[in-house]
């Protein structure tokens, strides 16, 4: 017997995930524009690994392949992970990270909708803890005019680990702007001196600030399409801005501007694409704000005082752990039981 309601609005999980991926396109385009096409290689690599792992896990768990492979969730995880690791990372790193993300943090928990941790961030955390050195070699933007590898040379490095004669990896890559900032501050330079270094552009790292802007544009698209609500990005960026702002006001020589933090590292990507993963974020409005504020403050603390250059991933993961409790404690009052109002 078929049970009411008999009509449904036509939308689907696959459609939602697809729109999120669509929103990543501006950021990816700018990435390619400023840093070259190597990122496309890791995106492809991660996508293929994700689909293969997803299919294998579904098979092992005796679940149907078609509906789950077409929900696009594995692809989205793959893209987010690929965007958060260096494009020149060797191929096996991408594969290990993606496979771990999909197999362990998603399917061991029951697959789509059941995972506690953000799979992409688990993949990232595993990589940065297991292979910290590889995770620090980022591409230099074209604008710096340094030595650049051709696409073929990049491919040969990614897959064979071979660089052209006479070149070291350090010569063709650099640390991220956040990482550089941290190292230089340790060496005793002031924020002002560091900002004058050639790798920095208007607000943050040259090139990378534009990529962050691209992600922000994608985020606005998601907001307009009601795929995500304003709570998470706004609370996250707000908290990050406020914390960074306080430190910057107190001591501008040692703490960079809040805008620098906005446009560095994974802040924008995180605010609009990572924190907003519905499965691993709270469901109530109040809960979302607590979650995002916590993540924002933690991101700043790890960036400014912690051992890792960027805190986005760990902040997200820590707040993921808190989600069940946040949800339980922020249950909104239901119809007619609000009390006091009447």
């Amino acid at each position: 017997m078929w049970i009411s309601p008999f009509i449904t609005k036509s939308n689907s999980v696959g459609e939602i995930m697809f729109k999120v991926m669509l929103a990543l396109i501006p950021g990816i385009a700018l990435y390619v524009w400023y840093f070259g096409p190597a990122i496309l290689v890791s995106l492809t690599l991660a996508s293929l690994t994700a689909l293969a792992t997803e299919a294998a896990m579904l098979k092992l768990r005796e679940r149907p392949l078609k509906p789950f492979l077409s929900d696009n969730s594995a692809l989205l995880t793959a893209w987010l992970l690929a965007l958060s690791i260096p494009p020149l990372a060797p191929w096996w790193m991408v594969v290990v990270g993606t496979a771990f993300a999909i197999a362990v943090s998603k399917h061991l928990y029951g697959g789509l909708g059941n995972n506690t941790f953000n799979p992409a961030m688990i993949g990232y955390a595993v990589l940065i803890i297991s292979f910290p050195v590889h995770m620090t070699h980022w591409l230099t933007p074209h604008a710096l005019g340094g030595i650049e590898l051709s696409f073929a040379e990049q491919l040969s490095y990614i897959f064979k680990g071979v660089l052209p004669n006479g070149l070291t990896l350090d010569a063709v890559t650099m640390a991220t702007p956040l990482d550089t900032l941290k190292t230089q501050l340790h060496l005793g330079l002031s924020v002002h001196d560091i900002s004058d270094m050639p790798i920095y552009g208007h607000l943050a790292g040259k090139g990378s600030e534009m990529v962050a802007l691209g992600f922000a544009i994608g985020g606005v698209y998601l907001l307009l399409n009601r795929i995500i609500t304003w709570h998470l990005p706004l609370a996250y960026l707000g908290a990050l801005f406020a914390t960074a702002g306080i430190f910057h006001l107190v001591d501008p020589t040692h703490y960079v501007t809040p805008l620098f933090h906005w446009f560095s590292g994974a802040a924008m990507l995180g605010a609009f694409f990572i924190l907003t993963d519905p499965v691993t974020s709270p469901t109530t409005a109040k809960g979302k704000i607590i979650f995002a504020v916590g993540a924002g403050v933690l991101t700043y603390l790890i960036r400014a005082f912690g051992g890792f250059p960027d805190g986005m991933a760990f902040a997200t993961l820590f707040m993921n752990i808190c989600v069940p409790l946040i949800d339980a404690w922020t249950q909104p009052k239901v119809f007619g039981k609000k009390g006091g109002k009447q």
Partner: protein, 182 residues
């Protein structure tokens, strides 16, 4: 050496005193857990657990003398509840004790000889009748424990599974078509 001994003895005496005092101060009377366990049990009083009734089983559980999977009328859910209450792991039913469909006893009144043996066996007084008169079962109070079946000398009692009708019908667990493999 002496110092070490003295120190250890000192500590021991002091702690002994504290514990002795608190043993008196925080003495616990009775076991309030029994009531909680008893509330979870289905009260069929069927004795299938090996104890004469639900309360004795609850007492045994509270003392940790019985397993939590000895109550077929409670079903698997009963085991889950007991596991939750007692902080134990769920254990499935052992051999020969799968829960049956809920049913009530029914007396075939044409064969009943009015011996009253079943009345004496019924743990909840759900059978009415007198000597030499046929007996009948108050269906609404029968717990389906089957204790009346054995004593009946003419085997006139049978267990009727409770049929589903519009008054006791329940919504089914929604099928989740996606879980079927293709």
């Amino acid at each position: 050496m002496i110092a070490a001994l003295l120190v250890m003895i000192g500590i021991a005496v002091f702690l002994g005193a504290v514990l002795g005092f608190s043993a008196i101060k925080f003495k616990v009377q009775g076991n309030p857990l029994v009531e909680k366990i008893d509330a979870v049990l289905p009260q069929t009083q069927c004795g299938q657990c090996g104890f004469p009734g639900c309360k004795p089983y609850a007492e045994a559980l509270a003392k940790g003398e019985a397993d939590i999977n000895k109550c077929p009328p409670g079903g698997e859910e009963g085991i889950h509840k007991l596991a939750d209450l007692l902080g134990k792991e769920f254990i499935p039913f052992g051999e020969g004790a799968p829960p049956k469909a809920k049913s009530v006893a029914f007396i075939d009144e044409s064969t009943c000889i009015g011996c009253t043996l079943c009345i004496q066996a019924c743990p909840v007084d759900a059978i009415v009748g007198a000597a030499k008169q046929m007996h009948t079962i108050i269906a609404s109070e029968c717990t389906g424990c089957e204790l009346c079946l054995a004593p009946c000398p003419v085997d006139c009692i049978s267990m009727l599974p409770i049929a589903e009708d519009i008054t006791n019908w329940k919504w089914r667990y929604p099928v989740f078509p996606i879980q079927a493999t293709i």
